[in-house]
Symmetry: C2
Subunit: 149 residues, 2 copies
């Protein structure tokens, strides 16, 4: 008979998903209703807003998103005139992406929402707790950096 001291509510993949979903809900409703964006869209937007000009490949690497997701997000963002794509001169396969003024404005707007929402989210946690949470999450999000296998 296997161990009985297992609870679903403490199983990390489950718990993490619950927390992630709950904590994304409100923010999601903002970028969705205000700009008709999908989750992939705002991620790309934020990457470009925060880190400047990037290629689709760069974004995929940083955000761990598959290239098809990014390709489609960029298409949508370009249609909305939030992003401009320019071919690289040296290597004509790669495309440089950057925000238009309109995209920049949307980014600034959503960043403020995000920032505000962040403080709301962490309200039930004291600052030590929040710090510990972030540190643990970073470790979980980047497993290879901490394992030996």
């Amino acid at each position: 008979m296997p161990d009985d001291n297992f609870d679903l509510e403490t199983f990390l993949p489950y718990l993490l998903n619950q927390a992630a979903e709950a904590s994304s809900l409100e923010f999601q409703s903002v970028y969705k209703q205000r700009y008709g964006m999908l989750r992939t869209d705002w991620r790309v937007l934020f990457h470009l807003g925060l880190y400047g000009q990037l290629t689709a490949r760069d974004i995929g690497e940083r955000a761990k998103m598959h290239k098809t997701k990014i390709s489609r997000a960029v298409q949508r963002l370009a249609e909305m005139r939030f992003v401009i794509r320019t071919r690289d001169g040296q290597d004509r396969r790669v495309e440089h992406l950057r925000l238009t003024p309109k995209g920049q404005a949307a980014f600034e707007d959503l960043r403020q929402v995000a920032q505000h929402y962040e403080t709301e989210l962490t309200a039930p946690l004291d600052s030590a707790e929040t710090l510990a949470l972030r540190r643990a999450l970073v470790k979980l999000a980047n497993p290879q950096a901490h394992r030996f296998t």
Copy 2:
């Protein structure tokens, strides 16, 4: 000019999603390859395995899953002969769900995998960190219980 001290990597909804995705990956490959299950499927399976007979409604409430998701998961699990459905005598709308012996076996198997995987996941964290993480996640997963709005 808005605050510039905002980083995507520390934005909780983003970070939580990254951690959740990374930490679900390996476990997902097990229940997928071993039983052809979807995420919704193992969640329903685990609910029934851990808490005994439940209705679809119960599961939806506990797991915060939409009823259509559960309906279809139950269909799949019933096809696999992992779950048995019996109509309630009093209220003929409700259906009681429980695991068959075959379903029970699959649950026990996956529970062991989960338990083992859990220790692997928490390996890079010390026990205080793990505890803090769980407590914080529980708070984030159940916002209404901690807010005043």
